[in-house]
């Protein structure tokens, strides 16, 4: 698939892709190549992508309540229509400063292991479909032990989008056992 498309051309392509998706297997077989549907958000100057299937909704930042003694990557908890969700300060997870909230800040609500978790991001830029051929593994030198949440890198024109592995990025795998009062 060509990478550099005018916005209008890209939109019509997306529409086409949607149509293809709706028409089922027979037509899909003719589609050029498999694609990934991603939500793109930014933290500082970098762009990150997560599979759209994992994102439940994107909301303006509500009041976030601090939880004493919570892990450092947790900003607090929020109320989403009567449910209390943890809000992950993903910037600190990625080695960045804590976020300054702006009018463009958003919480991306994702589902992980049947639970809902909010991710605080600077800006949600777009929802895109990216062909598999544009997705490559990150250079070995970049993926350190600490950055094990980077699964791939996608090229969209001149832009590089870092695809992240949510469970690792959100530290959901090591749900801790209760901390003893006296250790």
């Amino acid at each position: 698939m060509k990478q550099e498309l005018k916005p209008s051309a890209r939109d019509s392509l997306l529409t086409f892709a949607d149509d293809v998706a709706h028409q089922g297997v027979a037509v899909r077989a003719e589609a050029a190549e498999p694609e990934r549907h991603l939500v793109i958000f930014s933290l500082d100057r970098e762009e990150f992508g997560i599979p759209i299937a994992r994102a439940r909704e994107i909301v303006r930042v509500p009041e976030i309540t601090r939880v004493p003694q919570a892990p450092p990557h947790i900003r607090g908890v929020m109320n989403l229509r009567g449910r209390i969700l943890p809000v992950v300060e993903i910037r600190t997870r990625f080695g960045l400063e804590r976020a300054e909230l702006t009018s463009r800040s958003r919480v991306v609500v994702v589902e992980a292991h049947g639970r809902m978790v909010g991710i605080l991001v600077d800006v949600v830029s777009q929802v895109v479909k990216i062909g598999e051929s544009a997705i490559v593994p990150p250079p070995d030198e970049v993926v350190s032990q600490r950055a094990d949440y980077v699964s791939n890198v996608a090229r969209v024109g001149p832009r590089l989008i870092i695809l992240i592995e949510l469970d690792k990025a959100l530290l959901l795998e090591n749900v801790s056992t209760p901390a003893p009062l006296i250790s």
Binding site: E63, T65, G82
Partner: protein, 563 residues
């Protein structure tokens, strides 16, 4: 039967378990009593008849659902009973066998709704029972080794009548998940009501109180109705604690036999009711306490006689309601806790300074420290390495507290205080460091205004005089990981058992009923927070674990982080 979509057979199985699990339990309980009566030489024919009736019904119900393994087991137990009917002399000898069967029965019935059953244990029992009958039949006129005179009969209507209804109270069985759903919806309604109240207050302030009387009245009446609805809803969720106590007869006997102890179980207050959520999670900590008491707390019959005690030990389970809490106790008349040993171990663990001289009460409280009560010995039944810290943790997650008192040589008593319900919490809202926190009202002894002069400090630890008593004081903001400040205007005295601790806060925001929600596990279970709630303005507030706060030790209270 039930109009839920889904596998109709699965629902039948659930109904089966709901009906038959108590019946299987009753078989065990009856046998425990029979065993004793038979040993005393009382044939107890009437009770024996009840036992046979229960077995018969179990057999019938199991057959209807094709649970052949359970059917065969109940049938075999019936056969043993029939055999004992003719040979009353063998009854005392056979009670142990029947009790083993009852144990298998309880377990299999309980698991029936959770997938296919393995017949290993039931078959083992059946062959054991056949051997028993065969061995005892030798030399008697009964030629058939396995008397099969009774055929399987379908259970009749009259039996159902005997079992279930007394014809007066009409009850329906409701899926517990529906009740949970109802409670959740009620919680949302309550939060919406709180929001409405705040909106009306704002409106009245903005319009200087003009013309909102009707609205206020309507809202007040809505709030009263909600309160009644809450009461009614909670009442539907209450389950008597006898359902938990019920399983202990068999357990006590089994554990006592395995450890060569003689133990009688006494229960009281079984009619006390608690919310289903609390009941469901209470069994495990109680089982740990009771097994621990038998294995580690009670002496052998010989040892007891030597010290002038009755050779049969007594374990008592009791429950009693005190306003909106239920007090549960597990008492044994065994050797009691050894304060010296606890203190020694606590010193080894570094939980207490080598030169400290804690009071006896403080020493007993240390029994709940992680790693302290786990004995080196591992026994098949209790010694799964489960220490008292685990028990204390499960009680705390239920919003309860636990204490232990003990008299060397006389026995040990664990006292637990539990909330009647977990869903709605009467709370005091306080402001700390720009956040609001809800404190369970039941743990608040008093809230008062204080001046800086009232707080005294020794080596960084605060204290104050309260009702003629010197109590420790900590700055809530500091404990909650914020910054300490020179002056805070209000103090909330929180309690846990006999302990009191003052908590300095920025402001008191009034009483409020809040709907308790659990915190997501990714928040790492902060030690002083027990849950969260949504306030009227839609913001989340954390619920403080006041009991935990009251129990803070000096070193922890003065540091910002607890773990």
């Amino acid at each position: 039967m039930n109009d839920d979509a889904g596998n109709p057979f699965a629902e039948l199985l659930e109904e089966y378990v709901a009906e038959c699990a108590p019946l299987a339990q009753a078989v065990g309980d009856t046998l425990v009593t029979l065993e004793r009566r038979w040993e005393e030489g009382d044939p107890a024919d009437q009770l024996f008849g009840t036992l046979k009736g229960s077995l018969h019904t179990l057999k019938g119900n199991s057959a209807m659902l094709g649970l052949t393994a359970i059917q065969a087991l109940a049938h075999c137990m019936e056969d043993v009973c029939a055999f004992l009917g003719e040979r009353p002399d063998l009854r005392p000898a056979a009670s142990g066998l029947l009790l083993r069967g009852a144990g298998v029965l309880v377990e299999m019935v309980g698991r029936a709704a959770r997938g296919p059953l393995s017949a290993d244990r039931s078959e083992h029992f059946i062959s054991e029972a056949r051997e028993f009958i065969q061995a005892e039949s030798v030399g008697t006129e009964t030629s058939a080794p396995y008397p099969e005179r009774r055929r399987f009969e379908r259970r009749t209507g009259s039996e159902v009548g005997e079992l279930g209804s007394d014809g007066v109270v009409s009850t329906i069985r409701v899926d517990a998940r529906r009740l949970d759903g109802l409670l959740e919806t009620f919680g949302e309604t309550m939060i919406a009501g709180l929001g409405l109240r705040e909106a009306v207050r704002d409106l009245a302030i903005r319009h200087r109180g003009a013309g909102f009387t009707d609205l206020e009245h309507a809202l007040t009446s809505l709030e009263k109705t909600l309160k009644r609805l809450e009461g009614a809803l909670m009442a539907t969720r209450l389950v008597s604690i006898a359902t938990v106590f019920g399983r202990f007869n068999l357990l006590v006997r089994e554990v006592a036999n395995a450890h060569e102890k003689r133990v009688g179980l006494v229960t009281s207050g079984g009619e006390t009711q608690l919310d289903k959520t609390v009941i469901d999670r209470l069994g495990e900590p109680l089982v740990h306490l009771v097994t621990n008491a038998i294995i580690h707390g009670l002496e052998s019959p010989a040892e007891r006689e030597r010290s002038g005690k009755p050779s049969e030990a007594t374990v008592t389970l009791s429950a009693v309601q005190r306003s909106d809490r239920v007090i549960l106790t597990v008492t044994d008349d065994g050797r009691g806790l050894d304060p010296e040993r606890i203190l020694h171990k606590a010193r080894q663990l570094g939980a207490v300074a080598a030169d400290a001289t804690p009071s006896r009460e403080e020493v007993f409280a240390m029994a709940f420290l992680p790693g302290l009560s786990t004995t080196e010995r591992v026994s098949a039944l209790a010694g799964r390495g489960v220490g008292l810290d685990v028990v204390a943790n499960s009680i705390r997650t239920l919003g309860g507290s636990i204490e232990v008192a003990s008299e060397p040589g006389k026995g040990t008593k664990f006292t637990m205080s539990l909330p009647l319900t977990l869903a709605v919490l009467r709370s005091l809202l306080v402001a700390v460091d720009g956040e609001r926190y809800a404190l369970p009202l039941g743990d608040v002894a008093e809230s008062l205004r204080v001046t800086n002069e009232a707080i005294h400090e020794i080596d960084g630890h605060g204290m104050m005089l309260w009702r003629g008593q010197v109590i420790p004081v900590s700055d809530a903001a500091e404990v909650l990981g914020g910054s300490a400040r020179a002056s805070r205007n209000y103090c909330v005295v929180v309690r846990s058992g006999a302990r009191r601790r003052g908590m300095l806060v920025d402001g008191l925001l009034g009483h409020q009923d809040v709907v308790v929600k659990a915190l997501d596990p990714s928040l790492g279970r902060p030690p002083t927070i027990s849950g969260a709630t949504i306030l009227g303005d839609g913001r989340v507030a954390c619920i403080l674990d006041t009991a935990r706060f009251a129990e803070l030790r000096a070193t922890e209270a003065s540091t910002a982080t607890l773990s």
